[in-house]
Amino acid sequence: MFVELNNLLNTTPDRAEQGKLTLLCDAKTDGSFLVHHFLSFYLKANCKVCFVALIQSFSHYSIVGQKLGVSLTMARERGQLVFLEGLKSAVDVVFQAQKEPHPLQFLREANAGNLKPLFEFVREALKPIDSGEARWTYPVLLVDDLSVLLSLGMGAVAVLDFIHYCRATVCWELKGNMVVLVHDSGDAEDEENDILLNGLSHQSHLILRAEGLATGFCRDVHGQLRILWRRPSQPTVHRDQSFTYQYKIQDKSVSFFAKGMSPAVL
């Protein structure tokens, strides 16, 4: 996790809010550093994490996680992390007939189905064990990323239904958190993606939007991060706060600064 981002979001692993949906969005740049941040954040907060990783392999997240101070292999072994590796599972589903329903069963179907098997997988992974002792604080669902589901033949409505079911189970019933990443296609006129993004923006409590700079590529400032709080917990606080910071990604951390205050410029 990035300490500077924690300061900006005003959270620490010990006292994070529960029952929240966080939307990560990236436009014209790569927002995957936010996924790594939240993954290590919740693992350090001793939460039970279900990670649906559709776009990269396990070793990619594991190696970056080691740089950020968490060990995904150990977390998986002791049961804290349930990892669904989309790429590997897709190969299994497509080339071998599965006996029991697989979370990525929709890859075998010609028509746009629904994501019910995936939801069942998530619910099974995050359901509290009735062993008496509470090992983990609260469950967390991480999805990287949802736009890939649209590329794989799902409709935007099916994906929104999936998120709705997950929110009802994870956020409301189990008092956990959800973090999902969606790409913003910008002017690529991807209607399905826009429907998905708008729908999720209305449902989420916190939106982190990583954008590329409008002027193009810069070596010292990699992009701009817009933080938007919706539905703040205290009603007295001014609604829908929004902050914008610029950032530069380094090898093991990300440094944030106010717009125009990059150390390279000053």
């Binding site: 070793s59 890859l107 993606n193």
Partner: protein, 449 residues
């Protein structure tokens, strides 16, 4: 080049480039094992594979794309397990060249090839590969020279520095042919014996679509389904995914797929905006990437993205590929007559570079890149101003757009300096040259008129 010189030593260095984990867990994205912690060195120590080298940044195993200039732009090479997508130029003249360079590099390094095409027979594609500028040829000439001058030279005794006589004669010529990137002569064909010595598999769609392979039900178009099964068969049977533990000598599988997405593959995304099979191509790419990530293979795909009607599909395809390089040739466009581009044949855009096992990636600072196909070589250069003559032409240019005078004077003042530096680069390099331009935004501004 410094990179080529050190790669010989790196390739021979110890430290397994790919960890041999258990059968279920082989991916190419394992970091180099540390020698210090010898606790879980359960598998046999791997001999490093020819034609690969670990990345400087994160130990990722890299293969060459066949063009050392492109390797440099991509941060050292193409990572094993990733997809390189080439967006074809409009008349499909230059993208087959990059495709062939990739395959030729595989033959020279002894990798296994898998060539898939719906248009040409893979055997014909292999016949047209460019010939490598191997060191053997240069070495033969060098040896002849040495032989001719050998007798008089050995008689000359060193008078003052007599200790040096005892040292072995230094080889001035190219040392070995197991370099990382090779140069190719586009005007000659690869020698037949090299092609026959290589191990390659071809997938020609019109042949395969009629045969009755066991088809698993899937929602892809039949062409894509057959190709995926073919690739998966090869990977499984030849042990690229670690499923065959008897194989001691590991090798890389280079997959080349030509014109993916064109109507010849049975896909209609190039014909209609909202066709019936709009998800077929993206699903194919996803499953292909899954296959690549779990095996020692690298893939090059050329795709006619300029024909795809639906821009959303292009965006999705870009997200699903790892490296995306776009070629834009000047043929037929107004830029062909633009004096700024008179030395070049087109622009090359590096649209996407992946961040693998890392938060950051090796993006090159130079964004304006142009390529030209010289008589023998394909070179990529940063766009460099040519000299004072060009600047004066621009001052009273045909379009007469307003340009701040001081700005232009500044550029004119800088240009002789730039010209001097670029000529130094050109003189020293025989092959491609990559001129780094410190004031990159000058060229960017000059382009916008």
């Amino acid at each position: 080049m410094a990179a080529a010189a050190t790669c010989g030593s790196v390739a021979a260095s110890t430290g397994s480039a790919v960890a041999t984990a258990s059968k279920n867990n082989v991916t190419s994205f394992q970091r180099r094992g540390r020698r210090a912690s010898g606790t879980n060195d359960s598998g046999p120590r791997l001999v490093s594979i020819t034609g690969t080298r670990p990345s400087v940044r994160n130990g990722q195993l890299l293969v060459s794309t066949g063009l050392p200039a492109l390797d440099q732009l991509l941060g050292g090479g193409l990572a094993v397990g990733t997809v390189l997508l080439i967006e074809e130029d409009k008349y499909n003249i230059y993208s087959p060249l990059l495709f062939k360079y990739f395959l030729a590099e595989g033959i020279v390094n002894g990798h296994t090839l898998l060539v898939a095409s719906a248009k040409e027979d893979p055997a014909n594609i292999l016949q047209e590969l460019p010939a490598p500028l191997l060191d053997d040829k240069c070495k033969k000439e060098f040896d002849e020279d040495v032989y001719n001058h050998k007798t008089p030279e050995s008689n000359i005794k060193m008078k003052i520095a007599w200790r040096y006589q005892l040292l072995p004669k230094m080889e001035i010529g190219p040392v070995s042919s197991s370099r990382f990137g090779h140069y190719y002569d586009a005007s000659k064909r690869m020698p037949q014996e090299l092609i026959e010595a290589s191990n390659w598999h071809g997938f020609f769609l019109p042949e395969k679509i009629s045969s009755t392979l066991k088809v698993e039900p899937c929602s892809l178009t039949p062409g894509y389904t057959k190709l995926l099964q073919f690739i998966q068969n090869i990977i499984y049977e030849e042990g690229f995914d670690g499923s065959n533990p008897q194989k001691k000598q590991r090798n890389i599988l280079r997959i080349g797929i030509q014109n993916l997405g064109s109507p010849l593959w049975g896909d209609d995304i190039c014909c209609a905006e909202n066709g019936g099979n709009s998800h077929s191509l993206t699903k194919f790419l996803y499953v292909l990437r899954g296959l690549l990530r779990t095996s020692l293979s690298a893939c090059i795909i050329t795709m006619p993205t300029h024909l795809i009607q639906n821009k959303a599909i292009i965006a999705r395809v870009t997200t699903l590929s790892d490296i995306v390089v776009g070629l834009e040739s000047f043929i037929g466009s107004e830029r062909e007559t633009n004096p700024l581009y008179k030395d070049y044949h087109g622009l090359i855009h590096i649209r996407q570079i992946p961040r693998l096992n890392n938060l950051i990636c090796d993006e090159s600072d130079v964004k304006d890149l142009a390529f030209k196909l010289k008589r023998k070589l394909f070179t990529i250069e940063a766009e460099v101003q040519k000299g004072v003559s060009t600047a004066t032409f621009l001052l009273d240019g045909p379009r007469k757009k307003l340009f701040p005078c001081l700005f232009q004077l500044l550029e004119v003042a800088c240009i002789p300096w730039l010209m001097a530096s670029s000529s130094v680069f050109k003189a020293s390099n025989i092959g491609e040259s990559l001129c780094y331009q410190l004031s990159g935004f000058f060229s960017a501004s000059l382009l916008h008129f």
